[in-house]
Point group: C2
Chain length 238, copies 2
């Protein structure tokens, strides 16, 4: 048994997962295996960012696993014929960027890799504050997956369960940014935009851009994001 | 809401999942969407059988989703450099054909497709009798996944949970075969062998072949499997 210090970190190269990786490496001291899922996302710049950033932020290893989610849902994130939303997440509804069971699939693949590596931790950068409309970003979902993981694996059945950690779960975007900056994360590197161009420059208009810009504003930290055009002077609060 | 009569059936074209599909269509009357996972399995004949058999046994739709499990574990099922076992499943241990978290990944993908289709059932042909060494073939695992599915999906959160059904869970291989034959399944069509050739002919020696042959013997039904060579006269009981 390799001990509790080995972790699989779900890592997209975005703001949340880069902060999660920095916490895993610099706060917890885990030996981190970054896992990126190539699920046909339209924002391919995300994959290039992940490849560049995993080692820069201290992962000892980085894997990309392909899983074809094109059949699942009609999400704006995987369907190039559908516009990404720019009007805010809406009131209580589930956003059109929702990919059915996406985090369940991601955690399942992370679980398989964690068991292979004899890792005892999986870290995921989900956040229940800004993404309250996504059922699979809630604390109860994370707790249920951890219970499943114990029953689903050889190590779990043998009494060494794999724990699921979601350090950003209850933080606001501004808090996430403040913690990341304190840990030395340069957010100019990270790509959050649903519609980034090949160079990783953000649109400034989609919901991911909007939440991110508002986060920097609330954190009182200059927004280092590279935009394709000059962003509007004022960020709508949704 | 499309009602409780739409189901996603995890379907490999093997003996267990073909029986499961026959039960879903002919016993429950579900409108069945068969889902085959192409996970780099070495027994590619399984995929060809699935394509051929899904509609023959009444699925209204068939999808193949690719997911790369080559990084997960060092299973004899995905690693062409490793011999498939022929010596029985062993005593209490977990077989070398175990792919870490495989059923978790499969059910997660089925869950995403079920939510997309507005299906309210997922059927999986797991069996706790012959595969007791696999943690993710146990009743507690299926129950935990069903609980997760309720929390993971928009429909679950809205009060219409997707149910996980595993009709073969407590049956012996002989019982599965007897029920399938009664429903009109022609097992000559199905491929179970871990090492089938391109034509789908079975080796007769691997653990999957051994369990299957023993099942026909115990059911008192002539084994219709197409073997590459004449099988040994006597089946070892492990």
């Amino acid at each position: 048994m390799t001990g509790p210090h080995r972790a699989v970190v779900l890592f997209s190269g975005g703001l949340d997962s880069t902060t999660t990786l920095a916490i895993a490496v610099r706060v917890h001291g885990y030996a981190c295996h970054a896992l990126t899922l190539d699920y046909g996302q339209r924002h391919r710049a995300e994959l290039r960012a992940a490849e560049r950033l995993a080692r820069r932020y201290g992962a000892c290893d980085h894997a990309v696993i392909r899983v074809d989610l094109g059949r699942l849902g009609h999400s704006a994130l995987t369907d190039s014929g559908r516009a990404v939303p720019t009007g805010g997440e809406g009131e209580g509804g589930i956003p059109v960027t929702y990919v059915p069971a996406r985090n369940t699939v991601f955690l399942a693949l992370a679980l398989g890799w964690a068991e292979t590596l004899e890792a005892q931790r999986i870290l995921i950068g989900v956040n229940a504050v800004d993404y309250s409309g996504y059922p699979d970003c809630r604390p109860a979902f994370i707790a249920a997956f951890e219970e499943l993981a114990t029953l689903a694996t050889k190590v779990g059945v043998e009494g060494h369960p794999i724990r699921i950690e979601a350090p950003l779960l209850h933080w606001s975007k501004a808090e996430i940014i403040r913690r990341g900056v304190a840990l030395g994360v340069d957010y100019a590197d990270t790509v959050s935009c649903y519609d980034a161009d090949r160079a990783g420059r953000a649109c400034g208009d989609c919901d991911a851009c909007r939440i991110r810009r508002l986060g920097f504003l609330e954190a009182g930290i200059p927004d280092p994001t590279r935009y394709r055009k000059r962003p509007p002077a004022r960020v709508r609060s949704g």
